[in-house]
């Protein structure tokens, strides 16, 4: 034992002084207060040791732990390693080192600065992006050094922009003017903010004029961006409304069933997504978790299709020709389904996570983020609608369905099993609602009340578009979404929604059968 300690002491004595400083700083990461932790982070970032980046990244991800006796460990999926020796270690009794936002910011800055000199161009680009969001005067020298060595043009642009942001506060007017010129072509609201801040106490008239011009140019570009963003948001909201309404367009629009339980079908779909996700978590390797969503879509369709068929056969088929009675019965069904889900899954929200490929978004110009989940939902919605339209138009089931809804006795006389077609049609509408539920679980709550939030809007969309017209539902949903989002910045979310409802009420006066009214004699019945 003694020998061991002696050997250790000898090793420590022989180790270079820099390494000692390094290990001290690493240990200081577990200091009692955040100020000391931040100091340690700054020290580590300045030492230029290759291990620092890994440690700091682990810390900002919450994967840096400290044991009772002061050893610092890095947690990885494969296990624990000692931060200093990189030897495997036991994570017994280790607690994660607490990080707060201030420390997280310092870590991000430090990792960024370390990354500027990485041999990996991709890492350098990420680092340059991160210094661009929060350039600090202390990092100016480092950035200039990095810029001098940089060869990749993309990274050079980013670094130059970041430097220009700093140069706005420079004492030399020429430098300030150059910085303004460099920022003129940017569409970054952050740069605009800095230009405006600079204008507040700019004395040089020439620089002032240039900066004012630059601000107005950026403003113009940003207003274009915000129009584009508005349109995207409108389409996205419209596609959510559309998705929620397509199933109703079948059960209500085509079959004429005032289906108050439509919202609950959406809810059942969302809960199916939850169950599939939990099964994936429980039984499949973690790497496959991202696939739960594509699996959940058909599963939800099948589940809600079956529920729909069961409802149609047991209740709704006795009520054809009495639309208002179906409303009452389906209202009863909706109460029961809500309570059923509440009894099984509990009343509180359930967590349905976005798979990684649906998380986050791509930053377009001007601070506008195109979020992946919204894009996926728009595409999914169009795919569902397209598939449904094709099914109705070209399949024999679609033909039978149209025949039954248009003229039931005639269809029956032609040998079409009308009962089975009714059941399948109601099942189809429910199934689509179920698939919509899976998609909606990606942007909102999964709770027993989920369906209630969509039911009124769905009826509005179908009626506004014209009962019985899929095309009308599409146009209706998208235009309501757009109008809503165009009004929202001016009127606020609440008033915007009220105005949309008033527009619908007034519009129905003009076109009592919706945007795309069915023509023909059956309309009057």
């Amino acid at each position: 034992m003694k020998i061991l300690i002696l050997a250790l002491l000898a090793f420590l004595a022989c180790a270079p002084a820099r390494a000692d400083e390094f290990s001290d700083a690493v240990r200081a990461l577990n200091a009692d207060n955040f100020a000391d932790k931040i100091a340690a982070v700054e020290t580590l970032a300045g030492l230029g040791d290759g291990r620092a980046a890994t440690i700091l990244e682990a810390m900002s991800d919450g994967n840096l732990l400290a044991t009772k006796d002061g050893a610092i460990l890095i947690q990885r999926a494969s296990g624990f390693t000692d931060a200093l020796t990189q030897a495997p270690a036991s994570g017994e009794g280790a607690e994660p080192i607490t990080v707060n936002n201030r420390l997280r910011g310092a870590l991000r800055g430090a990792v960024g600065r370390l990354g500027l000199f990485s041999p990996d161009a991709e890492l350098r680009k990420r680092a340059a992006e991160s210094v661009l969001t929060s350039p600090t005067p202390e990092s100016a020298g480092m950035m200039r050094r990095a810029l001098a060595n940089e060869t990749v043009p993309e990274v050079r642009t980013l670094l130059a922009l970041a430097l220009a942001n700093l140069d706005l506060a420079d004492e030399d007017p020429a430098r300030r003017r150059a910085a303004v010129a460099a920022l003129r072509d940017s569409s970054d609201p952050l740069s605009r903010g800095r230009l405006q801040a600079m204008l507040e106490n700019e004395t040089d008239s020439e620089v002032r004029a240039a900066a004012e011009k630059a601000v107005s140019e950026i403003n113009f570009r940003l207003s274009l961006v915000s129009i584009g963003a508005n349109i995207f948001q409108g389409l996205s909201l419209g596609s959510v409304m559309l998705l929620a309404a397509i199933g109703l367009a079948v059960t209500f629009g085509v079959m004429g069933v005032i289906n108050m339980a439509h919202g609950e079908m959406i809810m059942l779909g969302a809960y199916t997504a939850f169950v599939v996700q939990e099964l994936f978590r429980a039984f499949l390797p973690p790497g496959l978790i991202g696939w739960y969503l594509p699996v959940a879509v058909p599963v939800a369709f099948v589940v809600t299709f079956l529920v729909g068929v069961a409802l149609e056969r047991s209740v709704i088929r006795f009520l054809y020709g009495r639309p208002l009675e179906t409303m009452l019965a389906t209202w009863g069904i909706s109460l029961m389904l809500q309570q059923l889900v509440r009894s099984i899954f509990g009343a509180s929200n359930r967590e349905v996570a976005n798979p990684d490929w649906m998380t986050g978004g791509v930053d377009l110009i001007g601070g506008f983020t195109l979020t992946y989940n919204r894009v996926v939902i728009i595409i999914f919605c169009m795919a569902v609608l397209g598939a449904l339209a094709a099914l109705l138009r070209w399949s024999s089931f679609g033909l039978h369905m149209r025949a039954v809804t248009q003229n039931r006795p005639m269809a029956s006389a032609m040998g079409i099993p009308t009962g089975r077609i009714d059941a399948a049609t109601f099942g189809l509408g429910s199934g689509i609602a179920g698939m919509a539920g899976v998609a909606l679980s990606q942007i909102g709550n999964v709770s027993p009340n989920l369906g209630q939030g969509y039911i009124v809007d769905s009826f509005m969309v179908v009626v506004f578009g014209g009962v019985g017209s899929l095309w009308g539902t599409l146009v209706g949903a998208l235009s309501l979404g757009l109008v809503n989002k165009i009004l929202e910045p001016y009127a606020g979310a609440m008033l915007g929604k009220i105005l949309v409802l008033v527009v619908i009420i007034l519009f129905i006066q003009k076109r009592p059968r919706g945007l795309f009214a069915l023509k023909g004699r059956s309309v009057e019945s």
Partner: protein, 426 residues
């Protein structure tokens, strides 16, 4: 003959409206009412509190009951319907003759039952953080008042550790709690030298689920070059889509932190928190706090609900404190008589689950510690700041001019919930 039958039928039909003959209260039990919505929009939050009360009742019965009698919980479902709240409160007090009621979540439900409790001299324990501006003789408020949540949270964000925030977004659902909190905060921020153009206030409807525009606006507002934070009083349901949008639009906690007053462990259990790490919440309780009382409470809860994954949250602690205080006061008074128990409530002490002691003040509000926590990837809140001592709740906020002059004190010589001067002379 016909008319006799018709007369009889009419009589019968009308008389059948009376299946509510007054039930005889069993003498060997003490009844407590549980008035939490088990269906409708508020069931999401309130069901947990019903279970908490049932757990406490179960616990006290195991320990031999109260005053030698068994405690019996009478559970009703007011179904998130505000007039139904009043009806059920009346039923609990008049028909069931309960000794105390634990219930309500939303302010409107409390406002709805308030006249009933005052008329029938009942006792309500209200366990949720709320806007203050109230002190009823018949209600004990065990949740936080704005000065026990909002003000410390803003102080923290203005401090060096909190990131020295200079620009503020106050986002809330359009109802009385956010309106009041934001009003108090606006006055407070201005008193700290924040300019009007550095405060953005935004209200959204209940259950708002399309946050694209507002999150984009927050991003824009935060791009003005000053450190920006969001103070969120967004209500329950709307939070999940809000946080999902926040994460997807890439708003990171170290750039624009969001501090919420209505988001706790229970709400976070319904959200994937991986991308929300670092956003904040201010409460009087966090499940993650290590304390013997808390460990015991969590173990008891998981055992009672038979689900090791269930979390605990602040309103549960408030329910726990309220129930404990009530049982202590009943033991002290030796009766469940409302007037006697009320007197015994003042100064009643119960150990907080997170350490320290909660005290019931004569304004019917508690003194409790304030904790600020950051959201972790596992859905827990990690304390990053804590008050040194307990903070006494203000029933009337000093930052609102009309209420600054009011005082709540139910002991002699004040004996009043909203008076500018005492009712009696010393």
């Amino acid at each position: 003959m016909k008319f006799v039958r018709a007369f009889g039928a009419g009589l019968l039909a009308a008389a059948s409206l009376l299946p509510f003959s007054s039930a005889q209260a069993a003498e060997d039990t003490i009844k407590v009412g549980v008035l939490h919505s088990l269906s409708g929009t508020m069931a999401i939050s309130e069901t947990t509190l019903k279970d908490t009360v049932l757990m406490m009742v179960d616990d006290i019965n195991k320990k031999g009951g109260l005053l030698g009698k068994k405690v019996e919980a009478v559970v009703v479902d007011p179904a998130s319907n505000w007039p139904l709240f009043a009806e059920k409160a009346r039923e609990l007090l008049e028909k069931e003759k309960v000794a105390a009621v634990f219930g309500c979540w939303t302010s409107v439900s409390r406002k709805s039952v308030l006249p009933v409790f005052e008329q029938l001299n009942g006792m309500l324990f209200y366990p949720v953080q709320y806007e203050g501006e109230e002190s009823s003789r018949n209600v004990f408020y065990t949740g936080a008042a704005p000065n026990q949540q909002a003000i410390p949270a803003v102080d923290y964000l203005m401090s060096k550790d909190g990131g020295e925030v200079k620009r503020w977004v106050l986002a809330g659902t359009d109802y009385v709690y956010p309106r009041t909190t934001n009003k108090i905060l606006e006055a407070y921020l201005k008193s700290k030298g924040v300019k009007a153009e550095d405060i953005m206030i935004n209200y959204t409807p209940f259950g708002h689920n399309d946050w694209q525009t507002i999150v984009a606006d927050i991003k824009k507002f935060g791009a003005a070059g000053k450190k920006t934070a969001v103070v969120s009083t967004i209500n329950g349901d709307a939070n999940v889509p809000f946080y999902k949008e926040l994460a997807n639009q890439g708003i990171k906690a170290d750039q624009i932190p969001v501090v919420a007053f209505s988001v706790g462990e229970e709400e976070l259990a319904g959200i994937d928190t991986k991308n929300l790490v670092g956003h904040l919440a201010a409460w009087n309780y966090f499940m993650s706090v290590k304390a013997p009382e808390n460990d015991a409470f969590i173990a008891q809860w998981k055992g009672f609900i038979k689900n090791p994954k269930r979390v605990t949250n602040d309103p549960m602690e408030a329910t726990y404190i309220g129930f404990k205080m009530w049982t202590q006061a009943v033991q002290q008074a030796g009766t469940t008589n409302v007037d006697a128990v009320r007197q015994a409530m003042y100064g009643q002490k119960v150990k907080n689950l997170t350490g320290g002691t909660a005290v019931m003040n004569t304004n019917h509000h508690l003194s409790k510690p304030v904790l600020i926590g950051e959201i972790q990837a596992n859905g827990q809140l990690q304390t990053v700041w804590k008050t040194k001592d307990v903070i006494k709740a203000d029933a009337w906020s000093p930052y609102i001019p009309e209420s600054a002059k009011l005082k709540a004190d139910w002991t002699f010589p004040w004996v009043c919930g909203n008076c500018a001067e005492p009712k009696f002379k010393m």
